[in-house]
Amino acid sequence: MKIKILVAPALIIMIIVLSVWFVYPAYTNGSDGVKEKKQKLNEQIRLSDNLDNQISNIGKLAAYLKANTDQNAVVFDYIPKNKEEEKLIENLSLLAKDSGLSVLNISVFEMKSEEPTPSPVLPPVAPAEVATPEAASPVVPAQVLATTKIAPKKVRVDFSVFGDYGGIKVLVEKIQKANRFNKFSTLEIKTLLTEEQLVSESLSAKMVLEFNYLKELTSLAEGDIDNPIFSAVAFDRQIMDEIGKKKNIDIRDVLPGQKGTANPFLMLK
């Protein structure tokens, strides 16, 4: 009879102990309870869906690139894959001739690479938005994984001409309208005076020009997949249109011409 009296309180205590020490922690304990596992699973499902979207976007973007090769060429002309210094020499010489100027010097130099431009940085995100589920601890920047940096190489061209003022102005304009990126580091225009002359219409122009090129991407870093472009369905065409409007002088290809000689110390005619 006495044992029977103790059963009820003992059961109540067992229920409370089980609920507090086992059931509730199994439901939620801040790290690996069912509630947290469910949240992580939902997050993984979301990431997986995002990845499926990215795969679909990559298909669309790749199809766009294939279908618009000619239109996209403006971008590859503006920032080519290679140095193409032979093109720079030939085209600057042609532009000077077209402007009625005589060329004194065209020298091409490779410039030291600057610090690479970082890829677009994403804002810090909460653990729930971190790319890899197991990395969900404190607040972490999204770009914790290595990404490819945009590192253009630069080419410096020392270019000197002489002629009249009008021709120099035309040349400057033509260089700026050439469809390859260029920047005037310096432009020096001076009169060519003899000792007796006070005024001269003959001018010399020395300019230091900067061109750039970007080597083709050979491999992707793990973090590159998080680049915002893979979440987009199309490229931003605005810049292509802008280049097309402002840069309307084509950089011509160099023709190989005749080659091969029996005597390399004599000029081939």
């Binding site: 199994a26 920032i79 432009l187 292509m240």
Partner: protein, 170 residues
């Protein structure tokens, strides 16, 4: 003498008995719930593991293939956007100097330096009044941020004044 009856009646016994049964049932429910949570947690782990494997394999497959070409093109677009904003209109700079040149003044040299965004002019004039007018003319132009005149020199042979001016562009 008052009688005290210590024997419980049948109804009370039954109610105690059903209360204990209820507690047993509740205990079983709690145990069942715990077992459910443990097994459900394990099944969630399995699902998460398989999703992660799938995610990782899909993600690594993205690193090869067309994504390389897409990112290469996008990098060029990003760089082109930056570069276009950096390009200065040199013709406009020259044009603004032409516009501001005062009568009686001409140039012997024009040097643009992109690092300092400045134009150094080597000028000649027929008089000091022209020098003053020239400085004023550049100062009154909105295109130039600052105008810095240097040392003037009078060439007695040619009766002309040479003077430098450094213009900083906005």
């Amino acid at each position: 003498m008052v009688n005290i009856n210590l024997v419980t009646d049948g109804k009370n016994r039954e109610s105690i008995g059903s209360g204990v049964t209820g507690l047993f049932v509740l205990l079983l429910l709690v145990l069942g719930l715990y077992a459910f949570l443990v097994f459900y947690g394990k099944s969630l782990d399995k699902k998460a593991d398989s999703l992660k494997l799938d995610y990782d394999s899909k993600r690594s497959s993205l690193v090869v293939g067309d994504s390389k070409k897409i990112l290469d093109f996008q990098n060029r677009l990003t760089l082109a956007k930056e570069s276009m904003t950096k390009e200065r209109d040199m013709k406009q700079d020259i044009g603004k100097v032409e516009e501001a040149l005062a009568a009686g003044v001409y140039l012997n040299g024009y040097v643009y330096d992109d690092a300092t965004k400045s134009i150094a002019l080597d000028c000649y004039s027929d008089s000091y009044e022209s020098v003053a007018r020239q400085i004023l003319s550049f100062k009154s132009s909105d295109y130039f941020l600052s105008v810095l005149a240097g040392e003037t020199k009078l060439d007695t042979k040619s009766s002309r004044v040479s003077f430098p001016i450094i213009l900083t562009i906005k």
